[in-house]
């Protein structure tokens, strides 16, 4: 936990420095007709730097004697990763092969791997959800969802609304 606190405080400070750099580039002083674009963000970055410095101080020096539990234990981390990593791959899939195909693969994968369902059941449910999404968004709401930049299955199958 302590390590995580320190890392987070440092990340905040880095963000503060980035904001400071960006706002100085824009001009953080009083311009000819009022505060320049970087005025507000500059002082915000100052406050970020100050408060995260204090956080860092508290994490390292002040709370040294406190018995800290670990940030996350192995089993919990495993379960969190079990959700996070497939989610990342899913979003990658949305970008490359479109959301309809990705969600079929994602839901089916989860059901088979975590839920231990027989593959045919998983595919049926996954297809069902994906089809529901398709009809809701492409036809009813008329809001286009990503069709995939690499392999556009919808276009290949001729199912897109022209």
């Amino acid at each position: 936990m302590k390590v995580m606190e320190i890392i987070t405080a440092i990340i905040f400070m880095i963000l503060g420095l980035i904001v400071m750099y960006g706002s100085i580039k824009l001009g953080s002083n009083w311009g000819s007709d009022g505060p320049e674009a970087g005025y507000f963000p500059f002082y915000i970055s100052v406050i970020i730097l100050l408060s995260s410095a204090i956080n860092l101080y508290q994490a390292t020096i002040v709370n040294k004697k406190k018995i800290t539990e670990s940030f996350v234990d192995k089993k919990s981390l495993g379960q969190v990763m079990a959700v996070l990593l497939p989610a990342i791959i899913f979003v990658l899939g949305v970008q490359l092969i479109g959301i309809y195909v990705s969600s079929i693969l994602y839901i089916a994968f989860f059901m088979i791997w975590l839920g231990k369902y027989p593959p045919w059941k998983a595919i049926v449910v996954a297809l069902g959800v994906s089809a529901a999404l398709y009809f809701m968004f492409e036809f009813w709401f008329q809001i286009p969802l990503p069709h995939g930049s690499w392999i556009n299955l919808i276009e290949l199958l001729g199912m897109n609304e022209k």
Binding site: L15, P35, P41, I44, I48, V91, L145
Partner: protein
Amino acid sequence: MEEINSLFNGFAVAMSPFNMLLMLVGVTLGVIIGVLPGLGGANGIAILLPLTFTMPPTSAIIMLSCIYWGALFGGAITSILFNIPGEPWSVATTFDGYPMARNGKAGEALTAAFTSSFIGAFFAVVMITFLAPLVAKFALKFGPPEFFSVYLLTFCSFVGMNKGSPFKTISAMMLGFALATVGMDTVTGQLRLTFGSTELMRGFDFLIAVIGLFGIGEILLSMEEGLAFHGAAAKIRRQVVLETWAKLPKYWATSIRSCLIGCWMGITPGGATPASFMAYGVAKRLSKNSENFGKGQMEGIVAPETAAHAAGTSALLPMLSLGIPGSPTAAVLLGGLLIWGLQPGPLLFVEKPDFVWGLIASMYLGNLAGLFVVLTCVPLFASILRIPFSIIAPVIIVICAVGAYTVHTALFDVWLMLGFGLMGYIFKKLDYPMAPMVLALVLGDRAEDSFRQSMLISQGSLGVFFSNFLVAGITTLALLMLLWPLIGIVMKKIKPIK
């Protein structure tokens, strides 16, 4: 009594067939959202917001606010039956709700929870009906310095009232402000902090942050415990409902106390969650059988549910009349108003009375519809949680991704959502509060605008914030709230010396 006239006008607006249908749809969706983990009130509304772009704003806000009421009701279902709070404001309901359910009194517990919610909401809506126009009239006299001082007070209260480290609150809040500045500056037209990226030109949208922080983040957090939903059976028979209603008036004092706590917490930036805890704590301390709290006391359900629902509803008061949301969900609704081109604040009452009063009228109706829906359909909603997690989790994540994408039709936002999700997970574990960050993201631009206009008026002097009684008073109060934790530490050190 012109408020009553306006209210009746509002009812005329709210009771169109389309709007009534939306109310029912909204409430049902809201209860489902309240029951599912990961699709919370703020998050659910954020996801459904883009779908309302084609609706007239009045209908859109009616549906969205009914989703909110539904979520307020729905959170109690899983708390009582499964000991799993569907919403953060239902945590306190698990304390006495789940024991009651385990003792076979689930029907009683649920009825008590829903009825208390309704009473809390009703109290708050009546208060809104009469107070909101007054506050709006008062706020019409506000200039940029006054508005900025109110924003300052809002944010400083977060620092003052948060129990954790004030510096973490400040860091999170400032991060929100910094994120809000990214993109095109409306005054000078310059691109700020985009570092040449075209994706960042759009800036960070609060909707994406909300879906990520409160949606993905919460799913990641719930995964830590693994998920097994074994819950008590639930059916509400009419006999039980009537019996419980007969027992409830006994707790009228608790009820009124919790209504007041809820309204106060809703108006000040606190929201439903702290309200529910505070009401529970107060009720326990003041009750005659405080030892039974935690073992299945009905009072232990009445207090938090009344307060949470009252707070959730009254959070709309400052949102409508001042443009300052009193809770994260109200912040999302505020964002929605801005997207539809409406300016929340005192002018809204003057320029768009139909919208405002239609919304207020729908609060009465929506809550009534909500009570009816939950009392009749509890088994249906409870069975949703019996769907195994391996199906629900990916479906929820797919829905979140769709929600994030449809805001700006941008894939970058979906990646951002994941990033915010990870951030939310880490923040929650390290006790960095997320609500001030979201609020800063929503209000950042407007706060900055007020600040710049005030600076222009005063030609750079900060004294403008003390230039008249009103502004000076609010600013002083804000600074007091900011330094409250410090004052607390000083007081503690003085006392032992005495």
